[in-house]
């Protein structure tokens, strides 16, 4: 064999990372419902990206003539109090929900995973202190925490992202910590350490790629929660300011006319439900398949 000694940890590591990602693919194939969830979610994402091309009307165009019209051939989902087309607002509203959800969960995933990596890698007192403070944060109901933070900072896209990311950091720390504790005992980490690699290099370059599939699976479940929380805050009145279309805000407006114009609240309600359900479908099937506790049974 001519493999140089310093390349050994790298080749070991490649095999384990490949195995971790292959596990994710297997998980997809054993749970067909995950594909359904993924397809639905991708469809909604495409709808959001191409919103201006798909939407039949301008989501902000008001018209007194078309106030509170029930669903018809021209307005498939009816119009709202200002005569705006509900379907067009729904399509554009997907942008806000998905943007806030994806950015907030992206931030929480990065910060939370780093915290979890550090806690799991160093263990001992560092671990105890970090995880206890995460538990304290976790103890507070996330909707209430988000509510207070947005109320203090003021409702805007940036502040909503901050509030939702803040509530999602502790769960990611927990998710990343557990597999870190097992992976750090593996040979390739030991090998890397004996070659004098720094802790940071081992954590980010060697352990993280191995545990990333698990973190991403939980990410899809937490994205569902984030979208739910954003809509809830908008419903309470702490969403992105009108006239921008947001699903939670549309339900809030529709709720005022619920007695005679049910379609105002009904369609955005269904939209939220479809996206959250799709993400749960995606993440739940994968988690069952990836969870080492359940692996091996079927």
């Amino acid at each position: 064999m001519t493999t140089p000694a310093h390349d050994l940890p790298r080749s070991y590591w490649r095999t384990t990372v490949a195995a971790a990602w292959a596990g994710l693919l297997t998980a997809f194939n054993t749970n067909k419902t995950s594909w359904v969830g993924l397809a639905l979610f991708v469809a909604v994402c495409l709808m959001a990206v191409f919103a201006p091309l798909i939407a039949p009307h301008d989501p902000l165009a008001q018209s007194i003539l078309y106030r509170l019209k029930p669903p018809s051939a021209e307005f498939w989902m009816g119009t709202d109090y200002y005569g705006r087309d509900i379907l067009s607002r729904l399509i554009h509203g997907a942008r806000i929900s998905l943007f806030i959800g994806l950015v907030a969960i992206g931030i929480a995933l990065v910060i939370g995973s780093l915290i979890g990596l550090i806690a799991g890698y160093y263990g001992g007192r560092t671990d105890i202190i970090i995880m206890q403070s995460m538990d304290v944060l976790l103890a507070f109901p996330s909707l209430i925490l988000g509510l207070i933070v947005v109320a203090m900072l003021g409702p805007s896209v940036t502040n909503l992202v901050i509030a939702i990311a803040l509530t999602a950091i502790p769960p990611f720390a927990r998710i990343a910590r557990a597999p870190t504790m097992t992976v750090k005992e593996r040979e390739f980490v030991e090998a890397g350490r004996s070659l004098g690699y720094s802790d940071l290099r081992l954590m980010l370059g060697h352990i993280l790629p191995n545990i990333l599939p698990e973190i991403l699976v939980m990410g899809s479940l937490w994205l569902a929660t984030a979208i739910r929380v954003e809509a809830s805050l908008a419903f309470i009145g702490l969403g992105v300011a009108p006239p921008t279309a947001t699903w939670g805000g549309m339900i809030r407006e529709g709720f005022e006319n619920i007695l005679d114009s049910f379609w105002l609240a009904l369609f955005p309600s269904l939209a939220i439900l479809v996206v959250v359900f799709a993400l749960n479908l995606l993440g739940d099937g994968l988690r069952d398949a990836i969870d080492p506790k359940l692996r091996g049974e079927s």
Binding site: A139, F140, P141, L147, L153, I258, V276, F277
Partner: protein, 326 residues
């Protein structure tokens, strides 16, 4: 005479366990209260300025800051805040002028009533469904239950509330649209409670079904279940006599685990059904920028969370003696 070797008695272990849990609860309480204190004061956006608006004069803002005690040094404010929380002096509402703690205690029973009934409803539906699903693992009843429970926990509470309201209160007219929560007779009270409790209860049932299912699956794989089957005991008896009691232990923790979700959903449910409770109080405080009330709301939620988690932990220890020895 020979002395018997003395080990810790059952009573010793029990009180040790209770003391440890109690100590942990006190530490968590202080930590979260400190967090509340800093959230209100450190976040940008001065409460006094937020309340009076951009147009207010510097003098008016300074006066309000002095009234709220915000002009004093942070450590002094911290000690006063902690002392106030412990002695029941949570300040006075900036809107109503009444003590915050009184306003909270006035609506607390309505929220507790709603959450307790919902939790009960969730357990009554969720536990049997979870068991049924586990027993029929990977067969039709299991798939249907799993899909239904996944759908149930995908519902934002206000979406399901709006849908229930549309169908049962507006279309079918079975229940009142607005739930005052202050019905004179028991019947009127129950009618008021029905839709909100069903809304919250169905969502909790989704969570409880899932926990019951996975917990039951774990128990079904145990050796003593196989032994019982080998002895020829009827399967139904094994499930109800042997498995259920053991599988219910983790289900108890569900209350502590999903308390945050329960609280968040109760807020949304109360808003949709216009029912008095902590949810309506906190939204009112938000809209009117009642900063002392908001702080009080965070304190009461902290107390509820810490207390419920303590009770869940202790119950867990009581049901399952093995926990105490850890």
């Amino acid at each position: 005479m020979r002395e018997a070797v003395k080990g810790p008695t059952h009573g010793d272990r029990m009180s040790g366990f209770v003391l440890r849990r109690l100590g942990f609860a006190v530490i968590t309480l202080f930590a979260v209260l400190t967090l509340v204190f800093f959230i209100v004061r450190i976040l940008p956006g001065d409460p006094a300025m937020a309340m009076l608006g951009d147009q207010a004069s510097m003098q008016a803002i300074e006066q309000l800051r002095a009234r709220l005690g915000l002009d004093r040094p942070l450590p002094v404010q911290y000690v006063e805040f902690m002392a106030g929380v412990l002695t029941g002096d949570w300040g006075t509402s900036l809107v109503s002028g009444r003590p915050v703690i009184q306003e909270i205690l006035k609506v607390l029973p309505a929220t507790l009533e709603l959450t307790a009934v919902s939790l009960l409803l969730g357990a009554v539906i969720g536990v049997p469904l979870g068991v049924w699903s586990a027993v029929n693992r990977n067969r039709m009843p299991d798939y249907v239950t799993r899909l239904a429970s996944l759908l149930g926990l995908s519902f934002p509470a206000f979406v399901s509330a709006v849908l229930l309201l549309l169908v049962f209160a507006i279309h079918l007219n079975w229940f009142p649209v607005i739930s005052s929560g202050q019905g004179e007779t028991f019947g009127a009270r129950m009618r008021d409670l029905a839709l909100p409790a069903i809304n919250l209860g169905l969502i909790m049932a989704a969570y409880i079904t899932r926990v019951s299912r996975s917990s039951m699956l774990e128990v079904l794989g145990q050796d003593y279940v196989r032994t019982a089957q080998a002895k020829g005991i009827e399967f139904r008896t094994i499930i109800w006599r042997h498995c259920l009691r053991n599988s219910m232990i983790p289900v108890v923790t569900v209350v502590g685990l999903y308390l945050g979700i329960l609280i968040g959903n109760s807020v949304l449910t109360e808003i949709v059904f216009n029912r008095p409770g902590l949810g309506k109080l906190i939204v009112g405080a938000l809209n009117q920028r009642d900063y002392t009330m908001l702080q009080g709301m965070m304190v009461i939620y902290t107390l509820i969370v810490v207390l419920v988690n303590l009770v869940t932990d202790l119950t867990y220890g009581l049901i399952d003696p093995r926990v105490k020895y850890k």
